[in-house]
Symmetry: C2
Subunit: 346 residues, 2 copies
Amino acid sequence: MRAPTIHDVAGRAGVSIKTVSRVVNREANVREQTSARVLQAIRELNYRPNLAARNLASPRAYLVNVLYDNPSDNYMVSVLHGVLAACETAHYGVLLTPFDVTGPRLVDLVLEMVAQHRVSGLVLTPPLCDHEALVRALNADSIDYVSISPKDEDRDNPFVAIDDRRASHDLMEYLLSRGHRRIGFIKGHPLHGAASRRLLGYLDAHAEHGIAVDQRLIASGLFSFESGIECGRRLLHLRERPTAIFASNDDMAAGVLHAAQEMGLKVPDGLSVAGYDDTPIARYVFPGLTTIRQPIRAMAHGAVECLIRSIRKRSGLAAEGSVIQRFEYELVIRNSVGSPALTKPA
Amino acid sequence: MRAPTIHDVAGRAGVSIKTVSRVVNREANVREQTSARVLQAIRELNYRPNLAARNLASPRAYLVNVLYDNPSDNYMVSVLHGVLAACETAHYGVLLTPFDVTGPRLVDLVLEMVAQHRVSGLVLTPPLCDHEALVRALNADSIDYVSISPKDEDRDNPFVAIDDRRASHDLMEYLLSRGHRRIGFIKGHPLHGAASRRLLGYLDAHAEHGIAVDQRLIASGLFSFESGIECGRRLLHLRERPTAIFASNDDMAAGVLHAAQEMGLKVPDGLSVAGYDDTPIARYVFPGLTTIRQPIRAMAHGAVECLIRSIRKRSGLAAEGSVIQRFEYELVIRNSVGSPALTKPA
DNA sequence: CGAAAGGATGACAGCGCTGTCTTCTGTAGC
DNA sequence: GCTACAGAAGACAGCGCTGTCATCCTTTCG
């Protein structure tokens, strides 16, 4: 079983291989009718261009490189699925590379990677999309990239995001509507910019409701389960304990749940907990977490589309559509949030 | 920044590109001293062969294809990390493709994939490694593959595994040592063969201790969290409720925990729960799960090594070492298992 | 000491595609 | 009807590597 090549297609369509190449790459100057014949042949033979050959022939390979350093496996798997699907249909290859954001040689390593594999563009997942030096270097070298939930929603560079500030605000409104007034907040990784917008939403809600913000209620986590436990313990040992804790991702919320249960505190009777992301962990823990659902997979899919558009534009090829996509989130209500009234008697 | 090519290396070492190629691929018939010079040049230039070019030039590409259809994200991420690391050092590319085990065209799709990308070999993760028709087709077409925790530990084909039967038995011994005698068991996905060995360990332990096996205590799960909830409910609604439930993966154990807590049952006081795999979820739930730790990442790493050995052997190249690896497991004790004595009074 | 055998090395084609340059075709304008 | 010109299509080199085959250098042994 040998895969059909561009020659097979050309032969069948009665054109030269170059014309097939033009059609496949949607280049200009091909008559409608010729293009149709080629497309027909492609379909009949089930032809797919050979990635290795393309990569070798083009100055830049048809390769998308996903960079990550994210402690949440569930998040990354969703991203991966989205990227894989998008690259599949776009006939791009995927390169997946873990990186240490705090590594001193990060920028060099990435640049080496790009040169080595002649990568067409990068998908930066948080917190890498907020690595200033990295982004600066990419811009300087004119390397295309797309960010997922970046801190700076720079209109010049492709990105996908949800409105984190509003989402966080919505979740706060929900907590407030259930009667909570003393709400703890666990910040995300300091290098992860989008997380800071979640804090803004928290603050916004306080301001709107005329509630003073107690800085002691704001803890700094790292997006990891362990950091959630730690922050949870700290907040729960406060003299005036919060009646609810809003963690800026699900993993940390799970940590809070753990910490609360260690202390014999029932959720949601003794403490309400909310998360963010709606990764599978939000369902797995007991009680299920009330959280904000991000359409991670769709976002990753969209990110690749934006990236490819941006690459095509740079090389002067046809590319319709925006290089920025805003997605809708959703408040998912499970059983981890109750009313604080039940708590007070204790 | 242009990556060095084989010509650069050849020039620096004062040999032809073919000799460099020989050294890189560890082919025979290169004088020690020449080889050393080439290796030196490679190191100095930080040369890495261009995958695309290799792939194009060889009948089979330097590409490992990981096939999966596994409901556990955490499991897959660990596998992925292991595979990525191994391929990185072996200078192989990685292709990651989700498949539906139950899909009717599975075999065709895989074969197409292999032809399309001229894949060198496949890494089959459970339950795909137990897909009879697929394995048969691969053998028939002489396509190299390695299985992770397959059902049939066929000595002819590369695989990596732990001793599931003994591991399961060890866990059972632990439960029995804590005084449990009525222990529920949740089987894994019926298509996942290794899971059946976990059941054997469960049965072995019963036999050794002269305890009759109550078939009603054996439930059939699918390795998913949801199936764990269902099976958990079913077992807990039994007239003679088990004092412990052993689920054959962590996701299902988390489901049992969920089901128990829904019913107001405390773990471990009212019910003991044990899992299998020690994926992160085992730490995330409360209480943390007592479970069997599989070195998943190392296993995946080893799997790729076995696969590459097997590929090299087939093409008559040097390849030392076995194509089979057995890994050690570990019983991880957390807080989800207690003694049933506390339960009885109720 | 010369020839045969075999190990070490190199020359060169070609993998499937893209980029560049060239050639051909159709059409507008006079 | 002829030229001028843009748009459509093709010829061909070459991307970086491997496979094949040719060539060279050693060794071995009669």
